[in-house]
């Protein structure tokens, strides 16, 4: 049932997962949300500069709505059956990502590189 190799095998992947978790864990507390549809970017929001709460209606077959708040973004609504995107909850830190696979819409947070002008976008 369980052999010694199984234990080594499991430990190896546990270690890998922990190392990856540390690598992916960003120290930055806020970032820029990038919204993509079919793999092409359609919106970009600077979460650090966001002062109000607003709903972004992306429409489409699944009537996806995003909730944009100061420092956070989340899927508010989707007509998809699995609701994985909505259950992912709020994204706040760079690296985090939420996806609605049926609608092919993804939201991810990237680090604010300060390379683009916040006023001209």
């Amino acid at each position: 049932m369980i052999k010694k190799q199984d234990v080594f095998f499991i430990l190896f992947f546990l270690l890998l997962a922990v190392v990856l978790l540390f690598c992916f864990n960003s120290t930055k507390s806020t970032g820029v949300a990038v919204v993509e549809r079919n793999g092409t970017e359609c919106y970009r929001f600077d979460l650090g500069k966001q002062k109000t709460t607003q709903i972004i209606d992306l429409g489409g077959e699944y009537h996806v709505k995003l909730l944009l708040e100061p420092g956070a973004i989340s899927f508010r609504h989707s007509d998809c059956r699995d609701q994985i995107c909505v259950r992912t909850g709020k994204l706040t830190k760079p690296g985090q990502v939420a996806v609605c696979l049926p609608a092919k819409i993804s939201v991810r947070i990237i680090e604010d590189k300060k390379t683009f002008d916040g006023f001209t976008g």
């Binding site: 052999k3 992947f13 993509e36 994985i84 996806v99 092919k104």
Partner: protein
């Protein structure tokens, strides 16, 4: 499977019937899993992969072709009930994990026990699905990789343990 048949079924007929039963079992398990409430504290979309039990058993006890067939039918079932993307996810995960478990079972020295096999199957299942998801949307979904590894280990251990309980029962099961 090798006892003399009371119904005079040819070995071919029996194998068709047996594979049909395994397929039905896989479909029932995925349907049950869909009906379960989403598990808290787990990455969104994570499932136990109960129907992997069946492909794992089939890969070991029946053969590669029937096991892959079961994975394909499972994928079509997901397509009918949950849509096209669900079908792609089910097919990619199901086919790769079945292949990996079959290959591991082919190694003469049998380096892994059932738990190790289950974990290898679950990890390859998750890896294939993550790859397809990243192709369909954005490579940023790789952010889920550590969580999918952790959950793959957990669900793989569960499948391995359940299968080690089920195996003797399934081995006794005959169609005659």
């Amino acid at each position: 499977m090798n006892q003399p048949s009371k119904l005079n079924l040819s070995p071919r007929t029996r194998s068709v019937a047996f594979n049909g039963l395994l397929t039905a079992l896989a479909l029932v398990l995925s349907a049950i899993e869909l009906a379960l409430p989403p598990l808290p504290l787990l990455p969104p979309g994570a499932k136990l992969g109960l129907s992997n039990l069946v492909t794992m058993y089939a890969a070991g006890a029946v053969g590669l072709a029937p096991a892959l067939c079961i994975a394909v039918i499972k994928g079509l079932f997901a397509g009918i009930t949950r849509g096209f993307t669900a079908m792609l996810m089910s097919l990619s995960g199901g086919l790769l994990s079945t292949l990996v478990m079959w290959l591991l079972l082919r190694i003469k020295s049998r380096p892994f026990g059932l738990v190790g096999l289950g974990v290898a199957g679950a990890l390859s299942h998750n890896a294939a699905q993550l790859l397809v998801a990243s192709l369909l949307t954005t490579p940023a979904v790789l952010y889920y990789l550590p969580w999918l590894i952790l959950f793959g280990i957990l669900s793989g251990i569960v499948t391995g343990l359940v299968l080690s309980v089920m195996m003797p029962l399934l081995d006794k099961f005959t169609i005659d």
